[in-house]
């Protein structure tokens, strides 16, 4: 196992970083927080740069980069907080279409993604749980397609995405459908990080025609959903850990600069040890993130377990780094004017969405055979 970037990987990373610094500076994040800006232009510029095509297979008009490239982009999104439709479109919508969809529907929507014509997202979670088991929304065959009923929680960009992959349960198992957002009853929520806009979606009998069915309800769909989820989970884990790394870097820098009692606070041993602890937490989560990214890139059988390892570690990391990062900044980090809180809030959102640390540790308990028997079949 080689867990260090090759030269080409490092080049891609630098490229992405430089572009994001230009099109999504922190001032844009602040503008969105303060209601004086939006992220439309970020996506438009990414489209111009052909980013939506990056990880779409070449067969569908994409550039065919693998998941490692996806993770490299996700890391930079988390570091910079760059807002916009990329994360949901490329790491949630597209993988769902690719893993679940049949040939025609896959071609239709992946080509549209690659061309930058649509943005998308994934509506899966119910009751705060991002697992196939949690899906209670129903898919019923009707004249002209499938009727969807039920409710989907916390859909990232559910209020703005063009297309929404909805996972619902039919008699034979899970099914998945691509629904135009305009046909859904969307309830946008006011959340702590407005650059990660979240909406609840009510499925009130919306009818999906056959050409928008990714997969009719069936026993084989669950595994495909799980594979798509793995990608979304790892991308978010890598992004969240990167957000934590930035909090750590800001805190480290502050500790070197800020003086109290005539010396930099970073020279106080108790703070030094806490910074070492934060660093350790970031490195722990980061190394697991890359491991998980590799398992997906190489379609290793450990991919599902690795996804939970990475997301759990990212969640554990933010718990420490958000708390100590804010605490060690003192009063200044508590003010709206300082940028720190944008990263703090993003890190929290990154833990919550797609299952927090506790949820992924529970999944690991299940895969390791440590959960109670009734759990295994829950």
């Amino acid at each position: 196992m080689d867990l260090e970037f090759t030269d080409e990987e490092a080049e891609l990373r630098d490229n992405v970083r430089d572009v994001l610094a230009g099109i999504a500076p922190t001032s844009l994040v602040r503008a969105i927080y303060e209601g004086t800006g939006d992220d439309t232009a970020v996506w438009e510029q990414m489209v111009q740069l052909d980013w939506p095509a990056l990880t779409v297979p070449e067969a569908h008009g994409g550039l065919g980069y693998g998941f490692l490239a996806q993770a490299i982009v996700a890391e930079q999104l988390g570091l910079s907080l760059a807002p916009g439709a990329y994360l949901t479109t490329a790491t949630q919508f597209a993988p769902a279409v690719r893993e679940i969809g049949g040939d025609e529907v896959r071609e239709r929507f992946l080509a549209a993604v690659a061309a930058g014509r649509i943005t998308g997202t994934l509506a899966l979670a119910e009751g705060g749980r991002w697992t196939p088991e949690a899906v209670q929304a129903t898919a019923t065959p009707v004249d002209g397609g499938w009727r969807l009923d039920g409710r989907k929680d916390s859909v990232l960009r559910g209020d703005t995405a063009d297309e929404v992959v909805v996972v619902a349960r039919g008699g034979a198992g899970l099914g998945a459908f691509v629904v135009p957002r305009g046909e859904l009853e969307v309830h946008p929520r006011q959340v702590i990080d407005p650059t990660m806009a979240v909406a609840d979606v009510v499925l009130d009998g919306v009818v999906v025609p056959a050409d928008r069915v990714l997969a009719e309800p069936g026993p084989q769909v669950e595994e495909a959903v799980r594979r798509a989820l793995d990608e979304a989970v790892v991308a978010l884990a890598v992004a969240t850990t990167a957000t934590c790394r930035r909090i750590f870097d800001m805190t480290l820098e502050y500790a070197k600069e800020r003086e109290q009692y005539g010396r930099p606070i970073g020279s106080f041993q108790a703070l030094k040890h806490r910074l070492a602890e934060m660093y350790l937490a970031v490195e722990r989560a980061s190394s697991l993130g890359w491991f998980a990214a590799l398992t997906i890139a190489e379609d290793d059988p450990r991919r599902h377990e690795a996804a939970s390892l990475a997301k759990a570690a990212a969640g554990e990391c933010q718990r420490l780094v958000v708390g100590d990062g804010l605490q060690l900044h003192g009063g200044i980090g508590f003010t709206w004017e300082h940028d720190l809180h944008f990263w703090l809030k993003r890190a929290k959102v990154g833990d919550v969405l797609f299952g927090n640390a506790v949820a992924h540790r529970a999944e690991l308990a299940r895969t390791l055979g440590l959960a109670a028997t009734e759990e295994v079949f829950a």
Partner: protein
Amino acid sequence: MKLTFDDSVEAFRREFLDWLADNRPTDAEMAADPALSSAHLPAWAKAWTRRMFDAGWLVPSWPKELGGRDAGPVETLVYLEELTKAHIPRTTNPQGLGIVAPSILDYGSPEQIERYAMPILRGERAACLGMSEPGAGSDLAALSTRAVLDGDHFVVNGQKVWTSGANYAEFCFLFCRTDPSAPKHKGISVVLVDMDTPGITVRPLPEIVHPDKPDLNEVFFTDVVVPAENLVGQMNNGWAMANGSLAHERGMVWLNGVLMLEESMVKLLAEAPEALDRLPAQERAVAADQLVTSYIDSVAARCLGYRGFAKLVRGGSAPEQALMKAFSSEAGQRMAMRAAELMGDRSLDLGHDQAVAMGMGITSWMERYFGTFGGTISAGSSEIQRNIIAEKVLGLPRS
């Protein structure tokens, strides 16, 4: 040791509860006109302070003419507990009632008491406390805001920061340097400055939650003219006063931390069952275990506080007191974090709309979590508290 209070204390409690039932502000009037900062006095708050003052329930341990009834410390404890249980703020200007007024009563001239202290006690005026400065943090001795005596007035220049309530306060209990040549802590004095004096600029510092309701401020003083008679006590006696002011009600400060922690726990225990029911068994058990750990903290905080309080009442020193600030603020932080985690995807929602009477408006656990850093950072951060415990309580050598 015993669990219960003496009968006389219970009689005191009943007397207060009876009075409270007839005189408390209603939930409706509090909700209709919430306090907007820690020095804002809505109409109901003014009337409520006045009723307490008149009935001798404002500061029970003080004499009748100052709004009290010469009550003992145990009675004061019971009084504060009952107010909290009833969800009624004792004041919406805590630093005015808790620090500024008593300091003026202790050190001020009769005129100052009449013009500044008594109006606070009667709910007529609100005050802020000008201590922290950009370069001085919690190190008061390093302050550099200057007051230069020029005949019958001082001229004040400088800057304060983290000044709670300065955006609403009517006057400021201002620490400033009056003798730059003296050793650092010997050249500090206190003057009373009306906030509408020309030359004062207040710049609110919105916080990371509820930026629309700022309480902290930067305050800039440019050639601000303050009458010489507004000097509190002696020239260059500010250091003693700082230790005096901050020590007011010292024996009771822990209680607020404990009551807030218990209050949060009650709220959490009420909300937990529904949230737990959303979770599969494995996650549910882990979340429940976390909540129980916070529950242990909340009971422990009360026991620790009571133990220290018992020692103080006996006249001894109480090392537990040094722990209480760090322990209760950090326990509250952990509790809010765990509660937010328990709430899962619902923890992301802002809770603005459900603002409560105290004007805090922090009703989502995530916002509450971020808000708790006010408690672990200000008034001596948790790190400083640990230094104090290590050096003053445990006798470890200075670093």
